[in-house]
Amino acid sequence: MTTKDKYKKVAYYPGCALEGTGHAYNRSTKAVGKALGLDLVEVKNWNCCGAMEVKNIDPKIQTYLSSRVMSVAANEMGMDVVMAPCNGCYHNLKKAEYDLKNDPSSVDVVGKLSDKAGHQAYKSGQVETIHALDWIKGAIGEEGLKERIKNSLAGIKIANYYGCMYTRPRHIFPEKDQGPGSESTSKPHFMDDLLAAAGAENVDFPLKTACCGGAHTMSDSDTSTRLVLNILKAAKMAGADVIATECPTCHSGLEMHQIRAEKRLGEKVDIKILYFTQLIGMALGLKPKKVGVHENVSDSMSFLKEKGLA
């Protein structure tokens, strides 16, 4: 089976953020899937991936929580691919996969907790976990996307922001850095590739994998605001009109701290922040509301009208 066929129907693991602050990402991912003829089957009764909070307290509990999601997809739904659009979920499922392949004590803990919870333990290799970027790139590809574009993103300059968890740590992403066609952990480009196929002009953005301060946005908000402000300024200096995101934590952090930077530090950076799925959706001819632009904190409507997307 080719990757294209394999990714046509995948188990969808939205994760907690996409039901809350990242709902626009949820809406736009589903809308883009529908517009592209791809089938998303939500993982039944899914649970938290363990996020950062559980992992910091007990990494093996996080491994179990993530493994349960994969177990449900594999053993109860018969799926062999799980697509997680959130960087945190994607990272945690990949980490659990790595742990269960390489660490016998993790296998032991997951086995015991799965027994206790009354479900089959997940076994390494039962599913392939992918990100939304892998999904569109693998199922449709740049050429396929170009054929389907109705409203080109031509004239829009984009800084693609991947955040810190999409590529790190490298050892949990064995499929990356495998030469032409694979994703790069040092200079990721899948989002750049897809948005370029939709007609956008990507700018050279040096902070595409830099920390957004998302992890301490509550405990040390001022540092988070300064980190975000730095990202916004660098994107603006690189000539971007828009920062495209692919992580709900990064996205909400950029939006909230853009406002906070103006209030607390008196620094306003006028740059739009949109999920890559929103941009691709509008390029496919979907209306802004269909891809949840109204659910974003920042207002991009006048910009989108000016560019002929709304």
Binding site: S186, P206, L207, A210, S219, R226, K233
Partner: protein, 147 residues
């Protein structure tokens, strides 16, 4: 070696008289000092070796030993080195001023990331999350209310 706060101030204050090469050299030195603080805080002596021609990259490698989360600033260090090369190899380019300003933002990001992380080192496997231990008692209420 300057204090971490003094480094932050120096990053934000461009040296007006400096040539582009000097300004880039100063920013690179500030980035190295940031990482020296991190390495010292971990109880090691900052390396004087270089990697791919840059002490900054050797210091990052040293700082990430036993602490994989520190790789979250690996590309930031590499971008600082790249921009240093751009400025020093093409000082007469029309883009030099912009490249220097971008390098300043990159080094500032490294400073913010490392200085924030130094306050919470040891807490968390991958991310830099945790309580703001630099805050004085009483200030935490303000943060909680704001959150």
């Amino acid at each position: 070696m300057r204090s971490i706060d003094a480094i932050g101030t120096a990053i934000e204050t461009p040296t007006r008289e400096a040539s582009p090469e000097q300004a880039a050299g100063e920013l690179l030195a500030l980035a190295e000092e940031v990482l020296e603080h991190w390495v010292l805080a971990k109880g090691a002596a900052p390396t004087t070796e270089t990697r791919e021609g840059f002490r900054l990259l050797a210091l990052h490698r040293q700082g990430a030993q036993g602490d994989p989360s520190f790789n979250a600033c690996r590309e930031t260090c590499r971008e600082a080195a790249y921009h240093y090369n751009l400025v020093t190899m093409q000082p007469d380019s029309a883009a030099t001023d912009q490249r220097l300003e971008m390098m300043r933002l990159i080094v500032n990001h490294l400073f913010l990331f490392v200085s924030g992380k130094m306050q919470v080192a040891g807490l968390g496997e991958f991310c830099c999350s945790s309580k703001p231990i630099r805050l004085a008692p009483g200030q935490e209420d303000r943060i909680s209310k704001e959150a």
